[in-house]
């Protein structure tokens, strides 16, 4: 699947550029979990974050609209969706970041905290999927 590899690489470059532009223009780290929380907690002081979030949704729409790519399926039971969402929320708030803040910006800053966090969440992601798909837990 060389095409999937190229799309992943090109998408990653877009994400990297977006975080760099956000730092150059607004001086902010492009960490989505932090931005989302700031909008929910304090929308009146974070108008920029509201627009960033709106852009995030619009950008995904634009991709599917312009590239004519099908919308990916999302078939997960509601209890699992709620549990997963809740755990992701608790984890990113406790751990001060997610795949973007730690994985892209933090590693770019060569932050030991972010490198540690990224290795940890990747490892636990691998283990969780292994147990779900091959460990008899579903």
């Amino acid at each position: 699947m060389p095409e999937a590899f190229l799309m992943a690489l090109a998408g990653g470059i877009c994400i990297g550029l977006a975080t760099v532009f956000l730092m150059i223009t607004l001086g902010r780290i492009g960490g989505i979990s932090g931005i989302v929380f700031s909008v929910a907690k304090n929308p009146a002081e974070n108008y920029w974050a509201i627009l960033f979030i709106a852009g995030l949704i619009l950008g995904a729409f634009l991709f599917h609209f312009t590239a004519g790519q099908p919308i990916p399926a999302f078939e997960v039971s509601i209890p699992l969706t709620l549990a997963g969402g809740f755990i992701v929320g608790v984890g990113t708030k406790l751990g001060s970041g997610c795949t973007s803040g730690h994985g892209i910006c933090g590693i770019g800053r060569l932050s030991t905290r972010s490198i540690t966090a990224t290795c940890t969440f990747m490892l636990l992601g691998f283990i969780t999927v292994y147990l779900r798909l091959h460990g008899g837990i579903s």
Partner: protein, 142 residues
């Protein structure tokens, strides 16, 4: 201008997420299935992102005095590795593995107008607020 920049950065970020395949949970689970039928494509998302962010943060940022539309850069100041960081990252990894969505794709996927993805987002916010609430209680008492 500041708000327009935020919108444009968001659009580029969301476009990148959808283009990369990160908003397709089957793709994400395939990538996380390292010990099974591994689909390595999404590793290139991080490669692409770091290819841009690393040179910028290491060589570019130091040459700029201040952001174009804000008074100063806001960079994380913590540099200690504590139990909170590790346990938070571990929980995040578990949640990511359970569903296949991390915060960025979860929000960008709201574009797909699927109510189930909204449930994920609401549950995620609930989790963040629970931690924030407990943090508030702990600082009050200390």
């Amino acid at each position: 201008m500041k708000l327009l920049m935020a919108l444009l950065c968001g659009i580029l970020f969301g476009f990148g997420l959808a283009l990369s395949g990160m908003t397709d949970i089957a793709n994400v689970i395939g990538f996380l299935d390292l010990f099974g039928d591994w689909n390595p494509a999404l590793a290139f998302v991080m490669v692409g992102g770091i290819l841009v962010s690393l040179p910028f943060f290491q060589f570019g940022l130091g040459k700029i005095k201040a952001p174009l539309f804000a008074s100063s850069f806001r960079l994380p100041t913590k540099n200690d590795i504590d139990g909170r960081l590790i346990s938070g990252a571990a929980l995040f990894g578990i949640g990511w593995g359970l569903v296949g969505l991390c915060p960025g794709p979860a929000i960008a996927s709201l574009a797909y107008l699927n109510i189930d993805i909204l449930y994920f987002g609401v549950a995620m916010l609930a989790g963040m607020f629970v931690v924030d609430f407990i943090d508030g209680l702990l600082t009050e008492h200390s």
